[in-house]
């Protein structure tokens, strides 16, 4: 599988079809991997794929805008790649998708893997197996039934730990704004002081911004150094998008995101006085 991947990368680079190959390489630590950016055919041997390849590499795609790039994508990452193409952050002809048949990596998200199919990938490495796993929304439904004060208490406890390192934003494939509201000073939506209330506002606004675009890839939860349960929020948002607008992000590359379009006859979605 790795050999096949290296061959494809080598060929693409040698034929000058792409400027960069974004993949995984072994880290210093045994059994760990890190992202690697390859631009010489002879370096293609560095590429690996194993259980430690958790990162969502599509986050680097908006940064290679003018150049061509090939990206190694698992089934879940592929949804983010489609979303980035949909939002015109990279042109479809400028990206070569090398899909990897993934059977789960070292991540909590894999237990409820929704999609490991590789539809729309230019190359497929390995054979895709049906894992027979299902999306589990039971924790969301349980949480929704709590009272408002219980919910607030839960999030206060979570965001008390937040150190506002913005790792969740930086690893998010759809958080590519060069001028983020969190850094803006005029108007200052977010105080730069780190405290529970401000941390919560940061995440509320971030979640609102990625609504209907978030593919629930859980990169933010993986990156969080203090282990805030962000998957609850991302799951909730994909559930809402499905329930309210019958929309699934990352499914295709041409549908309109739910908040940038509307239907005249949808009075039923919400009660307005």
């Amino acid at each position: 599988m790795e050999k096949e991947m290296q061959e494809i990368a080598k060929k693409l680079l040698a034929e000058k079809k792409v400027d960069w190959v974004i993949g995984y390489e072994n880290s210093f630590e045994p059994g760990a991997s890190r992202p690697v950016f390859i631009n010489k055919p002879e370096d293609a041997v560095k590429l690996v794929f194993n259980k430690s390849c958790v990162n969502n590499l599509s986050v680097y795609l908006p940064k290679v805008k003018k150049q061509k790039a090939a990206v190694i994508a698992k089934g879940c990452d592929l949804r983010s790649v489609r979303e980035i193409i949909k939002e015109h952050q990279i042109l479809r002809e400028n990206v070569v998708i090398i899909g990897v048949a993934c059977e789960g990596v070292d991540s909590s998200k894999c237990a409820t893997c929704r999609e490991n199919k590789l539809d729309g990938a230019d190359f497929t490495v390995g054979a895709v197996k049906d894992l027979g796993r299902k999306e589990d929304l039971s924790d969301i439904e349980k949480f929704e039934k709590l009272s408002s004060s219980e919910k607030e208490a839960f999030w206060n406890k979570e965001f008390e730990r937040c150190i506002r390192c913005y790792a969740c934003r930086n690893v998010c494939p759809v958080c590519y704004c060069p001028d983020c509201f969190a850094n803006r000073l005029m108007p200052e939506y977010l105080n730069k002081v780190v405290n529970t209330a401000e941390n919560k506002v940061f995440q509320q606004i971030r979640m609102q911004h990625v609504f209907g675009r978030c593919t629930d890839c859980r990169a933010c939860e993986e990156a969080c150094p203090v282990g805030i349960k962000l998957s609850l929020l991302t799951k909730k948002m994909s559930k809402d998008a499905k329930k309210l607008f019958n929309y699934e992000s990352g499914k295709d590359t041409d549908s309109r995101p739910p908040l940038s379009t509307f239907k005249v006859d949808e009075e039923g979605i919400v009660e307005i006085m």
């Binding site: 979640m207 909730k236 998008a241 607008f245 908040l259 009075e267």
Partner: protein, 137 residues
């Protein structure tokens, strides 16, 4: 010592073309409505950045009311349709964060519906009060 009950703070974002004029009409028609609402004029409900709602709650608003033109009557023809979608999801998301659904409201009030505006504000205040009482228990 006597404890003074704090007055509820409701922030109302009213669209310039319908609801703001509707609020004017309420006064013209001498309809009585609670004075808890602080009105902010916005060009259109389509201009409502959800960030402003989150900010309002963060800065201490007990309730938020967004009011605009009836569907199909928008001055900019489609702004309120966008708002309806945003409102639907924002209400869910804020509820998930622990901001009660009784605190966040939207309404369609046209420039001639002075009476309706008074009713809407009354309802918002009653629901927000209900929420406030439930937290004190």
């Amino acid at each position: 010592m006597e404890t003074k009950e704090k007055k509820l703070n409701i922030v109302g974002f009213l669209c310039n073309w319908c609801s703001y004029a509707g609020a004017d009409m309420t006064g013209l028609g001498r309809n009585i409505y609670p004075a808890n609402i602080k009105v902010i004029r916005i060009p259109c409900t389509g201009r409502m950045d959800p960030m402003m709602v989150i900010e309002a709650f963060h800065k201490g608003a007990d309730g938020v009311l967004i009011s605009g033109c009836h569907p199909g009557d928008c001055h900019y023809s489609e702004g309120n349709y966008y708002w309806r979608r945003r409102y639907a999801h924002l209400k869910e998301l804020l509820d998930f964060f622990g901001i009660d659904k009784r605190r966040f409201h939207a309404s369609w009030v046209s420039a001639s519906e002075g009476k309706k505006f008074a009713e809407v504000v009354k309802k918002v205040v009653i629901e927000t009060e209900e929420w406030k009482k439930s937290t004190l228990k």
